[in-house]
Symmetry: C2
């Protein structure tokens, strides 16, 4: 057996599949390499709520001795700590669940393990996946927020402690940390990936998502989570793509540097042969954020009824006085009115996307904020979550402050593979490739 | 304090509210009365997976000393054993979870307790809320199935061991046991009642439901679960109602006695002044059952990935070789095709219901089957679950075998209060009132 030249922790899933498949790498070596990286940078990044060294080693050794049947054979991954695992604590980012252990794996975790994946540990989440931050720092600048709520998963992938990690998005909790930490982050179409065993915040929006260091890896994980046979993304050319440059109602909240980077990218893709057009939002689009707020507050305040009534003193004021209070004030009539309005917006979006394959837009106003007290503004994420459509954050740029800036690519409902194929062509056109681990 | 003349366990929520509000009854007396009933008939009915005597007594005593602020102050209830409770085991009807304890209350349970309700215990469910039966027997005939999967909840209410109990419906798991056990059973519009802490079978259909012994009680529980202020049902007259007599594509599966009872009811309502018309299903309606099967199988097989991969030998052949295998065979493309077809059917249904307030139809082919090996056929339930619309089973008739036969009333999406108001008028018109406890 020859050792791979590259540090396995720096390899993508796609690369690891080849190396493990050939016998150049053993699952144990990959896990050890990831654990060694974690040993080297976790004291600074603080991505993990619980690192399951021994359990991961044991799982990897079992895989060393087994034929590589699953698509993720021997591939380590991280799991946001609002997702149940039977063998490690699940603490939801709140002292209410200090040292709590779930009795089973969430469906997504069980599916990844069924495909041969090795759970390396649980990654830091903000309090109950909301805005009160955890301990994680941005690997690109330790005084900067990693974004949230899937803070630890984004940071762990950015620091190459794992090739991929699971997060969840109810507003902007996958896309924004992906942009801030300079990795790929994907929120699939709502409803596609099973949520059993994932903490419920707002059932109308909660979506499992994940972080990787290249586009192809996104699809590998997606198909494992769907329990679908592996299949490579279709190859498309820029000239085949109809791209909408979508500034939308919140464009003035993007910093001018962000605006310029995205507009320049659109120009570059157009020069490269893509059909790029400015696109206006459908009527009523600017009301989506308020509908999302009504619905997510309403649902959240009810979902955490037990925590609210039994452990209210352990919840942060940010959560209790914010979304929870919003939700208790919202009436059933407010709620169903907002739901009905979103149904109309989804139809309008579907209509609009008959003429486009994907949209290009901002992921976040700019670089990750300095300071660790807040996780940033989801203003560019809320609408796509509310519309249930797939969205990808691509680590496209470096901002004027030296921190990553993302580019968001949005697709049509349940056209996730099409979005990812288009994203690959776009990344090639913009010369965006595999992200090396930071630090 | 004067003792109520009636046995409190035989009273409805509406009656108990008055008696407790006046001080004629204390919460403890109600709980003791329900526990005494359970002591008298549980050995025959076997409705409970766990009866929480001491915990219920303690909760009731605390309420004795508190002002009656909540709508359910001092009202005992049962909880289907796939719904988490922090203080009693949750065993999901499978040996996999023998003696398992959840760490929190499901949102629905916490909301009922917040409204002053007293959790009396956990009621028997079939295995993971599917078709493999539990130990419960029908209080109207102990050799007959109570229906399923919410078997214990329906039987406990029928036997007056509690005035109401929670169930869940993914296919026909509330409506059918309600009909078989001769109580009111309600499945609200999909998405209205929070499901956090309820075992996930098929997220696209899983709906919390409940059983009572009168129509008004259904609305009291509904508003507590919505965390909405109490509000009585609107009073409507039969002459105000546009009723569709819906036979549908499976009418020939109803026994002729059932067909005649429902047709006679429609005639009687018409005579009473209601506008009753025969109604034909929209095109494609007869395909709904197959779409439901594809989607529920697909989702279920993924939701129980942990149980399937880790404890497959403890799952019943009925479950593994049935819905689970169906689901593993279904592809993602099959799944989204079926989902898209149901979206169209929901639109067609909405269109049809512009001309009707409610539909009348069968709940089940006939009386509860003799024998305890199977829970009956959900053929008259699947479509309404798949369409996400509210449906009520009314204990309308006694069949030729002396067992109860239900009448189903179906409404438009998110017009639940309207459906229940219409149902009250219909029940009055058919002289169907409060169901006395059996046994």
């Amino acid at each position: 057996m020859t050792k791979a030249v590259t540090d396995p922790a720096q390899m993508t899933i796609t690369q690891l599949q080849v190396a493990i498949g050939r016998g150049d790498l053993q699952p144990s070596e990959v896990t050890e390499s990831c654990l060694a990286r974690a040993g080297g940078c976790e004291h600074e990044v603080r991505a993990w709520a619980c690192l399951g060294d021994d359990k991961a080693r044991m799982a990897a050794r079992l895989l060393d001795a087994s034929p590589a049947t699953g698509a993720l054979h021997g591939i380590p991954f991280g799991v946001k700590d609002i997702i149940d695992t039977f063998d490690m604590p699940t603490q939801f980012g709140t002292p209410i669940y200090h040292d709590h252990r779930a009795h089973r794996d969430a469906a997504c975790v069980a599916l990844l393990r069924e495909a041969g994946g090795v759970c390396l540990g649980k990654t830091v989440t903000t309090e109950l996946a909301h805005f009160h931050p955890g301990k994680t720092r941005n690997p690109h600048g330790l005084q900067h927020t990693p974004g949230g709520s899937s803070s630890g998963s984004a940071a762990a992938v950015a620091a190459a402690m794992v090739p991929f990690a699971l997060g969840t998005q109810t507003t902007g909790s996958v896309l924004r940390p992906a942009a801030y930490c300079g990795v790929y982050g994907f929120k699939p179409s709502f409803g596609d990936i099973n949520r059993s065993g994932v903490f419920e915040c707002a059932a109308s929006f909660d979506t499992l998502g994940w972080f990787t260091r290249c586009v192809d890896d996104i699809e590998i994980v997606r198909r494992a989570l769907l329990r679908a046979p592996a299949r490579a993304l279709e190859v498309v050319e820029l000239a085949d793509l109809r791209i909408g440059l979508f500034r939308g109602p919140h464009w003035d909240k993007a910093e001018s540097a962000t605006q310029q980077l995205i507009e320049a990218s659109a120009q570059q893709l157009s020069t490269g042969g893509a059909h790029v057009h400015d696109i206006e939002p459908p009527p009523g689009f600017d009301g989506i954020a308020q509908h999302h707020r009504t619905i997510s507050g309403y649902e959240f305040a009810r979902a955490i009824s037990w925590e609210r009534t039994q452990h209210g003193q352990l919840l942060s004021p940010k959560l209790l006085d914010g979304r929870c209070e919003d939700g208790l004030q919202a009436s059933y009539e407010d709620y169903i009115t907002a739901q009905a309005a979103l149904v109309q917006q989804r139809l309008a979006y579907e209509q609009m996307m008959r003429d486009y394959d994907v949209l290009l837009t901002a992921v976040a106003p700019g670089e990750a904020w300095h300071g660790l007290q807040a996780t940033g503004d989801p203003v560019f994420n809320t609408a796509w979550t509310a519309l249930h459509v797939p969205a990808l954050s691509v680590p496209a740029f470096t901002g004027t402050g030296g921190m990553p800036v993302g580019l968001q690519i949005v697709g049509a409902f349940r056209a996730d593979a099409k979005l990812l194929a288009a994203a690959r062509a776009i990344c090639q056109g913009l010369n965006i490739g595999i992200v090396p681990g930071v630090g």
